[in-house]
């Protein structure tokens, strides 16, 4: 079986045209891979480029050079060079992402926000809602919130909605950007358990966890992102 995620010699910088073309290097020569059933955690201080790496992998950031290969339906797709349609196709079928903040859509209920990725893959609305309800119950989100749009929820509640939405599918590659940052101990434990289940199912996970306890519990390996910092070379 092919490795689900291979990152090869990826470099990224921002050019700030509104600041006189200031060039901000972010990362250079990023190379690593994540195996099926493995959870790799990106480590290093704030601002070193951890979230940027996740955003490049998901296609939200363009890359200057290198390849991001995702095994999608038995073939490797290079997210770095794929056209928008391919990126969306890979997201629908293979690549999931739990972002730090939920992007809410006006008027759409929490249950439907969570169910949406399953519906997008062809599940019936009823089946998807039933699965969404299971996950929300597991994450201890009060049942009377399920019919409301999540825009007015607290940070921790929104994060749990986001986690449920990211975990509802059986995507083979899952990116996690601090999924436990604003959760209490009980809900952190639920998320740790959900991550372990994903690992057992053979999902390749790549995450950022500032919480050391959670990191210890889920990480198979910690990848120090400072080694990819272009500033280190300059210094």
């Amino acid at each position: 079986m092919a490795t689900p995620l291979v990152v090869s010699e990826v470099s990224k910088s921002f050019t700030m045209h509104l600041r006189g073309g200031l060039k901000l290097p972010v990362v250079a020569n990023v190379s690593f891979s994540v195996a099926a059933g493995e959870c790799v955690v990106l480590g290093g201080p704030s601002g070193i480029g951890k979230s940027s790496i996740l955003k490049m992998l998901y296609g939200n950031y363009a890359v200057d050079a290198g390849q991001i290969l995702i095994c999608h339906q038995d073939r490797m797709v290079d997210i770095a060079s794929a056209d928008p349609r391919q990126v969306l196709e890979v997201r629908r079928g293979t690549l999931g992402y739990v972002s730090q903040f939920l992007r809410t859509v006006p008027r759409v209920s929490t249950l439907d926000v969570v169910a949406e990725p399953l519906v997008a893959r062809g599940a019936s609305a009823e089946a998807a809602r039933a699965r969404a309800a299971e996950l929300l119950a597991k994450l201890n989100l009060p049942r009377d919130l399920w019919q409301l749009p999540p825009s007015t929820f607290s940070g921790g509640e929104q994060q749990r909605v986001n986690i449920a939405r990211g975990f509802i599918t059986d995507h083979a590659v899952l990116l996690l950007d601090e999924p436990t940052a604003s959760l209490d101990a009980a809900n952190r434990a639920v998320v740790v358990e959900m991550i372990r289940t994903k690992k057992a199912e053979g999902v390749a996970l790549l995450g950022i966890f500032h919480d050391e306890e959670v990191r210890e519990l889920v990480a198979d390996r910690i990848l120090d992102v400072s080694q990819f910092s272009p500033r280190k070379v300059a210094a």
Binding site: F14, K55, Y61, A62, P84, R85, V105, A120
Partner: protein, 258 residues
């Protein structure tokens, strides 16, 4: 994943004398894809939309449409009657001002039913039944079916215009600032509605907007226009999160945070 584009646009240009309307625009639109065209007033986005939808003759370039029979037809090689038929059946056009897309002095039901008659439906009972269903779908109370849109609020008119366009099951819908001029609460409702309909019906759509939040919510892919040129395009998330061109960076950084 369907492997043939619905629309193939090549080197499309429109000049008004010496002035550029839009200049050598090329792209493919795929089935089920929503493309947003953004840019400020005068950037050429409406000119481009009109050239794509046969409302305005381009100066040069071609637009090929994948017909239901599987053949590609160049829009500007069709007869006027064929183009008009396509526009009435397989396409929809949602105007910024609903009065431009509705007939204001006939009933809401007739506004929806008219497009059904254009595709050959003649049974009054069926037409009224379908019109009723569509009014419900766009959240207009069915007891308003005999009222003229003149008596409707702006948000209701816009929803009626959407029902009128979608009733024939079009494959491609053009929208020109569909939420312009509406209150934010009405806007949110309309956006949610459009988003739901596009997903359910598997439509392709080309949406012109100057509102980047609308583009983020509705579109898969985005084209940024300035002075008649497409200066940047790509996945909507990518263009908004990592804008590359100076003008796109200016646009994105000018969004007001609430």
């Amino acid at each position: 994943m369907s492997d043939q584009p619905l629309l193939k646009v090549r080197n499309l240009s429109k000049f008004y004398g010496n002035r550029i309307g839009c200049n050598t625009v090329s792209f493919d639109l795929w089935p089920g894809e929503v493309l947003a065209i953004v840019g400020e007033s005068g950037s050429g986005k409406t000119t481009l939309l009109n050239c794509l939808s046969t409302r305005l003759m381009p100066t040069t370039g071609s637009v090929d449409y994948h017909m239901r029979d599987g053949q590609y037809r160049e829009l500007y090689h069709m007869s006027e009657a064929e183009r008009r038929f396509l526009m009435r059946t397989d396409w929809g056009f949602v105007h910024q001002n609903p009065a431009d897309g509705l007939r204001m002095t006939v009933s809401a039901g007739a506004n929806v039913g008219e497009r059904l008659m254009a595709i050959g439906d003649r049974h009054y009972g069926n037409i009224r039944q379908t019109a009723t269903e569509w009014l419900e779908r766009v959240e207009i109370s069915t007891d308003r079916i005999d009222d003229q849109p003149r008596a409707f609020s702006g948000g209701m008119r816009q929803r009626l215009q959407i029902a009128r366009n979608l009733v024939t099951g079009p494959r491609l819908v053009f929208m020109d600032e569909p939420t312009g001029g509406l209150d934010v609460s009405v806007q949110a409702r309309l956006l949610d509605l459009v988003r739901g309909l596009v997903n359910d019906l598997g439509l392709s759509a080309i949406v012109v907007t100057h509102d980047l939040a609308v583009a983020r919510l509705l579109s898969h892919r985005m084209m940024v226009m300035k002075d008649g040129h497409v200066i940047e395009q790509g996945l909507t998330d990518r263009v908004l999160d990592d804008p590359r061109e100076p003008y796109t960076q200016l646009l994105v950084s000018s969004i007001l945070q609430v």
